[in-house]
Amino acid sequence: MTPLASRETPQGPLRILRDDDQAPEVPIEPGELARMYRTMLLARNLDDRLIRLQRQGRISFHIGSLGEEAAIVGSAAAMLPADWIWPCYREFAAALYRGMPLEAYLDNMFGNADDPSRGRQMPDHWTGRAWNVGSVSSPVGTQIAQAPGMAWAAKRRGDDVAVLVYFGEGATSEGDFHVGLNFAGVFKAPCIFFCRNNGWAISVPASRQTASKSIAVKATAYGVAGVQVDGNDVLAVHRAVREARERCRRGEGATLIEALTYRLGPHSTSDDPRGYRKEEEVEPWRAADPLPRFRRYLEQRGLWSDADEERVTAEIESEIRAAIEVAERKGPPPLESLFDDVYARRPWHLEEQYREALRLREEG
C-alpha cells in the first residue's frame, strides 16, 4: 500500500471500492465487514424511524446521517477500543458501533430519566464515556479544539491512544478548527481530524465556506498530513483512518481527513432543503448511496445475501421498535436532577433554589 500522507486533491480522492464492486487488498476480517454493514443499516433504519417519531410529535428533534453512513461507520471501525472519538452530532452510528446500546441512545432521544445526560440536552446530544465517546455540543466545531488536547495528554502519558474528532465542512470556518489544527501540528498530537464534507452547512454550500481547493489542502497550513477520501466508500474511509491511526502510533502526529460525501436529507428535522437546493443536484448522490455500494461488494465476495439482508433488516426493525417502546415509557428525570452536576457538590444557593422549585411544584 502506498502511504497516504501525500495523497491530496491533485490525485483525486482515495477510492478502494471500484465501479465493478471489487476492491483490492481489504485487510478487514469478514465478520467485521458484516458488522460495519449492519451498523450502517441500523443507522439508516433509525433515521427513518426517528424522523417519523418527530413528525408525530413524540420526540422534539432529530439530526440524521442519511447518505453519510459509510464515512461515519468506516472511520469508527478503523479506530481501536482504547481510542476516543469526539462526535459532532451526526455520528450516533459511530457510538453504536463502539458498543453504546441502542437503548442508551434512545433514552437521550426522549430525554427520559435514564438518559445518560439526564434530559439536559436536546435529542442527538448524547454522551458515552463508557465507550470512550465524548459529549455532543451544538455550537459548531468546539470539539475540534478539545480533541488535540486529549490526544496530547495521551501522548504525554505514553499511552497508545489516538483521538478521532468529527466535524462538517462548515466547521472549518470556525476559529476552533484553526486553533485545534494548529495545536495538533505544533505538539504533534495523535489526533485524527475527520471532516465529513457533506456539501451543505444548513443552507450554505461548501463552495461558499472557503475559497481553498479542498478541505484536505488546509492541512498544509498546519504542517499536518492531509488526505481526501471518497466518503461514500466505506473501505477507503476505513483505510484512510487506519493509516492516520498508524501515523499516530509512530509519533508522526495528526492527520486531516476530508471525506467527500453528501447530506441526502435535511440539516435536521427543523430544516427544509427545498428552499435552497434543487433535487437535480441530489440525484447523482442518491445513485452513489454508500449502502448498496458496500452491499454489492459484500455480495460478490459471498459475505452477504438477500436472505441476510431480509433477516438483519427484520432484526433491526424489531430491536428499534422494542427499544423505542421502552424508552418512550420512561418518565422524565426527577426535579432534583435539574440541580445536580452543576458542580461536583451542590452549593448553598442551588440547595436553596432546589427547595424553592420543590415547594413551587408541590403547591402548583
Binding site: F61, G111, D115, R120, S137, P139, V140, S173, S203
Partner: protein, 333 residues
C-alpha cells in the same frame, strides 16, 4: 396597520431600512438565499441581492469581526447570530473591539451596527438553543442592549437600533416569535403593527399595566408570563404595575424608580440565571434611588443557577405560577 408576528415585524423593519438606506445590509449564517433559519430575512435576498443579504461562512467571530470593519468604513451591517448561544466565539470582537472602538480612538472611529440574536428557552432546545446571555453585554460599556416582547416593538426598536449611532445587541425572544402564550398555550399574535415608518425610541420602557401595589419589571418572553400573572393576582385584589423594559441598557431608570416610589414593592422577572443577572442590577438601582420607599425586600424571579436544561425547561423558566408566588409574597411582606 397589519397583523404581524415578531418574525414578520423584524423582516419588515429590515426591508424598510434596507430600502431607505443603501448602506444597510444583513449578514450571517443562512440569512441569504434561505432567509434565515427562523425566516427573519426571507425575501431580502430576492429584493436586495447577495451583496446586501449575505450568506457568510460558519464563523461568528468572522461575522462580527468583518462587520466591525464594514461599519467602520461606513456601511450599516445588521449581523445575525443564529442563536444567542452561539455568540461566544465572537465575544472578544464584541466586548474588546466593538464596544471600545469609539472610546479608544477618542471618538474618531465608530462601528454603528446591530447584532441580532434569537434568545431564550421554551422550544425544547437544551443548553445551546435556549440561553439568555444579555447580562454579559449590559455589563460592557459602549454597547446598547435591546429585547422587544411584541411585534410592534420589535419593528420599532429594530429600526431605531439600525439608525442608532452606537452598536446595539438586539435579542429576540424566540419563544414568542410567532405567537404569545395565552393560558399556557402559544396562540398567534393579534397585535396590529404600524405599516411603513415606525420607530420606538431606545431607552424608553413601556407601561403595560398600571397598579398600586407592586412594580414588576421584565422583558422579552417573560413579559407575557408576567402580564398573565398580574391578571391572575388582580382577581385577589392585588394590583401590579407591569413595566416592559424593552431597552435593557441604558435602562429607563425614571420609569422604574417612579413606579417603585408609587408602589413600594419591586419584583423583577427574567429567564437568565439569577446570580449576577440583570435583576441584580435593577434591584440595586431601585435600592439606591428609592430605598426609603421600599416596603418589602425586592424579589427576583429568574432562571435557576444551572445550565439551561432540556426536558425540565418549564421547571427552569420563571413561568406564571412562580411569578404569582413572588407577587403574593412581596405584597404580603
Amino acid at each position: 396597520m397589519a397583523v404581524m408576528n415578531i418574525i414578520q415585524a423584524v423582516n419588515d423593519a429590515l426591508r424598510l431600512e434596507m430600502r431607505r438606506d443603501p448602506s444597510v445590509l444583513v449578514m450571517g449564517e443562512d440569512v441569504g438565499k434561505f432567509g434565515g433559519v427562523f425566516r427573519a430575512t426571507v425575501g431580502l435576498y430576492d429584493e436586495f441581492g447577495p451583496d446586501r443579504s449575505i450568506d457568510t461562512p460558519l464563523s461568528e467571530g468572522g461575522i462580527i469581526g468583518t462587520a466591525i470593519g464594514m461599519a467602520t468604513y461606513g456601511l450599516r451591517p445588521v449581523a445575525e447570530i443564529q442563536f444567542a448561544d452561539y455568540i461566544f466565539p465572537a465575544f472578544d470582537q464584541i466586548v474588546n473591539e466593538l464596544a471600545k472602538l469609539r472610546y479608544r480612538s477618542g471618538g474618531q472611529y465608530t462601528a454603528p451596527m446591530v447584532i441580532r440574536a434569537p434568545c431564550g428557552g421554551g422550544i425544547r432546545g437544551g443548553h445551546y438553543h435556549s440561553q439568555s446571555p444579555e447580562a454579559y453585554f449590559i455589563h460592557t460599556a459602549g454597547l446598547k442592549v435591546v429585547m422587544p416582547s411584541s411585534p410592534a416593538d420589535a419593528k420599532g426598536l429594530l429600526i431605531s437600533s439600525i439608525r442608532d449611532p452606537d452598536p446595539v445587541v438586539f435579542f429576540e425572544p424566540k419563544r414568542v416569535y410567532r405567537g404569545r402564550p395565552v393560558e399556557g398555550r402559544i396562540t398567534p399574535w393579534d397585535q396590529d403593527v404600524p405599516e411603513g415608518e415606525h420607530t420606538v425610541p431606545l431607552g424608553e420602557a413601556a407601561l403595560l399595566r398600571e397598579g398600586r401595589h407592586v412594580t414588576l419589571a421584565t422583558y422579552g418572553a417573560m413579559v407575557h408570563e408576567s402580564v398573565e400573572a398580574a391578571r391572575l393576582v388582580a382577581k385577589e385584589g392585588l394590583e401590579v404595575e407591569v413595566i416592559d423594559l424593552r431597552t435593557l441598557w441604558p435602562v429607563d431608570v425614571e420609569a422604574l424608580v417612579g413606579s417603585v416610589k408609587k408602589t413600594g414593592r419591586f419584583v423583577v422577572v427574567h429567564e437568565a440565571p439569577r446570580t449576577c443577572g440583570f435583576a441584580a442590577e435593577l434591584v440595586t438601582l431601585v435600592s439606591e434611588k428609592a430605598f426609603l420607599h421600599l416596603e418589602a425586600p425586592p424579589a427576583r424571579v429568574t432562571g435557576w443557577d444551572t445550565p439551561f436544561p432540556c426536558t425540565l425547561e418549564n421547571d427552569y423558566m420563571p413561568m406564571t405560577p412562580r411569578i404569582v408566588d413572588a407577587l403574593r409574597r412581596t405584597a404580603r411582606f
